[in-house]
Symmetry: C2
Subunit: 400 residues, 2 copies
């Protein structure tokens, strides 16, 4: 299904930032000023476009017209020159588009620490602008990919008092995907576009909430990036009654979360070297914070992840990972399930038959493990992947 | 150099716990009661021998006569039956040796969650006891190995007022090696033997201190085990004046730390799939706790570790990992060195020449990276490894 959102045009070109023969520069423009929401990485080391973007959001003028994004170079750890480059891109694009440079959001993804090849980007901008089209949003989704193997897009529609509004999104992921300290945490690069009329302050709130229930619940390697950015633009062209917390907010939120979860799931499925996609459910924790901490510890354990890769229902490693989350748990109360198969009861294996059934569950590309701690009602869930030989190969060779 | 400590005998046999044709059961016996120190895993999920060992230490009678240890089976997540098996081993061995069962420490390492093959162990015990010899401590070091490829032993001597005392140790490591929450934290299996006369309460204290400066500063995969155990026995046969904090404590401590660091280093060098051994030094942090947290975050980053494996001086990943430790740092103040090569100054790369020199540094099997945060005087250091294709292969196949 191709992305189409009323009032938004897209464009993508090959600017030759890193590799020849692939789209690496994308542009999204709204016909009218759109309400802006942004969620950025909480890594203390932030890429230049993230610093500029955060600065822009802090100015309290929540409108923007355009997003320009490149792959192949993260413009991170590039010092003051990196920030200058962001402003140069904004300046040139503002002249080409005839809009305020402050209304242009810039995103980058790719290698850290190399100067952005600003000449190539500047040479490409006129071509980029000339190709803007309502049908070309998909090509932007292609241009932001790095080690991803597939385009990641999703689209939903919602009826608000007889007006059909559109919410669409694109994302890139693949590596450097992990939790950060304390929500809101952004991961990956993702752009959400809607023609809905939304309350500007509610828009930022609801986007943060949706991120915390989607992108912040996926873990590939735990390495939170310097560049993680999610931007949401709502241009209001649908003309619906303004959506806010009290009016249609619940319905909109459900659709937005579903959209972001869809994108987040696509990111895990296409993670670097990923062969299996595993939902880690923790139940019976003392509270949801403790459940969350245990879920993330299990999801980041190299020994658990390599066992996923090997298709080995190595439940001992799962219990050991839960045990090292730094919380008090009682191993004698733990039950563990692979999908519906109960493999551990009260901390002890149910036997070879259960193990064989769990092994069959793991043959699938997607499955869930549920750890019931038997201590309370706290629950949490994260989506993770295995750790494969290819993950190591890809990342050992990434820059060469 | 072979292990010899006056008054200690060792023995090892093939009991057939897991594989045929390899030593898997070892015994150490002191001719006289020895002062006992123990440091155990802080994982909430503890193996049966760890539960029994902790219980023994809490009884406040810090003497023991023997350590029996098996590889091939961890006796972890084995429920109450696992604890019964530990007591059965103590009982049988106490009759064979003619000593109190409480004076026998039991350790296990290997696969989690399978019942200990107690029959095989019990059948092997008479043979084990009959072979006890002062020359056979090395064979115990062989019997505790799992995926290790080499025996790990070290020995030191110290002159205390004209009396030469011996401190020796053995260790096994390989996988499931990581930090725990809050010192003291034990990692791996290690037995320290000395003929020194030591103050019993000081002995436990000094062993904990030495562990915190050695085994607790190595990280392979961050997966703290259910079985980590370090036991120290000092039998006093050297007849030196009693060592305590005020009398020769400093000198003894330095030698013990050196010994444990030697063993810890051997563990990292022989870690699963390890091709490179990297010292991570953090300087210029606000305090040593913050330095420690950043050092561990860098050491556990899969992206940093795969770059080590690839021999790629990917300094951006190192800065990004430091940035996600959850602490406030200023990327514009960061300097980074590979051995003596300054690769990053004020958050920016020093250029292609420096990068080439850093790449040459990484060609060695051992090197250090030093991250100076420029914020204060806090320092910390950990020893880590790369993350290789073989690490994944070994752990995907471990049980099969």
């Amino acid at each position: 299904m191709s992305l189409f959102v009323p009032g938004f045009k897209g464009s993508a070109v090959e600017s030759g930032i890193k590799h020849q023969g692939r789209l690496d520069l994308g542009l999204i423009v709204s016909d009218v000023p759109a309400v802006l929401a942004g969620v950025f990485t909480r890594n203390a080391v932030k890429a230049a476009p993230v610093l500029v973007g955060l600065d822009r959001l802090c100015k309290g003028r929540p409108y923007a017209r355009a997003i320009i994004a490149n792959s192949g170079n993260a413009n991170a750890c590039t010092g003051p020159e990196g920030v200058v480059h962001v402003h140069e891109i904004q300046g040139l694009l503002s002249r080409e588009l005839g809009i305020d440079p402050e209304d242009i959001m810039v995103s980058s993804t790719g290698v850290i620490g190399e100067p952005l090849p600003i000449d190539r980007i500047e040479r490409a901008i006129p071509r980029l602008v000339s190709r803007l089209s309502e049908e070309a949003l998909d090509s932007v989704a292609d241009a932001i990919l790095t080690t991803d193997t597939a385009r990641k897009t999703a689209i939903r529609h919602l009826d608000i008092c007889g007006t059909i509004i559109t919410i669409a999104g694109m994302a890139k992921g693949a590596g450097m995907i992990g939790p950060n300290m304390g929500p809101p945490r952004a991961t990956i690069l993702s752009f959400i576009l809607s023609d809905a009329v939304v309350d500007p302050y509610w828009w930022q709130f609801i986007v943060e909430e949706a991120v915390s229930e989607s992108f912040n619940r996926i873990i590939i390697d735990g390495d939170t990036s310097t560049n993680d950015t999610l931007l949401g633009l709502a241009n209001g062209l649908a003309g619906n009654p303004t959506i806010n917390e009290d009016r249609h907010g619940q319905a909109f939120r459900a659709v937005l979360e579903d959209l972001l979860q869809d994108l987040a799931h696509q990111v895990v499925r296409d993670g670097e070297g990923v062969t299996r996609c595993v939902t880690i459910c923790i139940k019976g924790a003392r509270n949801s914070d403790e459940a969350d901490r245990i879920a993330r510890t299990v999801a980041m354990s190299p020994l658990v992840k390599t066992a996923f890769f090997g298709g080995d229902p190595n439940w001992g490693r799962i219990l050991a990972a839960a045990g090292r989350a730094g919380l008090s748990i009682d191993q004698g109360l733990i039950d563990l399930y692979f999908n519906g198969v109960k493999l551990v009861r009260g901390g002890i294996c149910e036997g070879k038959d259960a193990e064989e059934k769990a092994r069959e569950v793991m043959a699938a590309e997607e499955f869930s493990i549920t750890l019931d701690l038997g201590l309370g009602k706290g629950e949490a869930q994260v989506l993770t992947s295995d750790l494969s030989v290819d993950y190591v190969r890809i990342n050992a060779d990434y820059r060469s």
